[in-house]
Symmetry: C2
Subunit: 130 residues, 2 copies
DNA sequence: TTCTTACACCTACAGTTGTAGGTGTATTCT
DNA sequence: AGAATACACCTACAACTGTAGGTGTAAGAA
């Protein structure tokens, strides 16, 4: 299983594809295209290229069934997201998680439930450290 | 004053430059180069190009003093960071701030002070909504 | 005065990325 | 059988990005 740290970074369009594949392991070009095409005009070939390059980069693997490729992510979602956020903290926030949270809160309207869940996450993270 | 939403996104290298300029308004090519060069081998011309392109993209403005350009950010840091984080929440976390925080906590070891400060940030954000 | 340094600018290259037309082949539909 | 559909693959283009050599000019140092 690959490590996100050893792989090229993901652009927004690539991340979009990855999220679809994480949501639906073994998905196919056709399925991905149907989903994205329902949101915006995009050529099937564009998706094809994105998939092909993600395979080249090591982010996706596939299993051929007949002539159809079924794609799976080569890296777990959680591991990738952690890596992505860490990179952002390091490169944009000079290592400050607090800085990231501040920017997050500036731009989001948290409802009470969500705020509570986030507090619980922090508490759990803190508890896990003892 | 420009709006980050109307401008091309920033790459990691560009963000690095922006952070230096936000830290030191009116800075010059030479100063930026000295700072980065102390961390790693990089040609002055590379910085020059990064600066020039950031100006082209609208992220930096400059004032010529003699033949030396003094660069300033065209967008406040806070506004940019909020935008950057929002983009990440939208594109990688399907709009879930909680998802981002979970990934953040997975990858960071919060000390007690920091956790407390983050809780306070959340409380303040919540209070500000009433 | 000559040499050195610094600068903005010009130029170039290679890699990356999003976009998509086109093709041969196989399968399915009419 | 012919037409339509789907696929992986080939190909192409333009824009973006990081990297950096080179140049004319001005200012400072020797």
């Amino acid at each position: 299983m690959s490590d996100p740290q050893d792989m090229p970074s993901l652009s927004e369009a690539q991340m979009e594809i990855m999220n679809i594949v994480w949501d639906r392991p073994d998905t196919t070009l056709g399925e991905i295209w149907l989903e994205l095409h329902s949101k915006r005009s995009i050529a099937r070939n564009t998706i094809q290229t994105l998939l092909s390059r993600l395979v080249d980069k090591g982010w996706l693997v596939y299993r051929a069934e007949g002539k159809i490729f079924h794609y799976r992510a080569a890296v777990p979602r959680e591991k990738t997201m952690t890596h992505v956020v860490n990179r952002l903290v390091e490169t944009a926030f000079n290592g400050s998680a607090e800085g990231l949270v501040m920017a997050l809160l500036d731009g989001q309207d948290l409802d009470a439930d969500e705020a509570q869940r986030i507090r619980a996450l922090i508490d759990r993270a803190q508890a896990g450290q003892k």
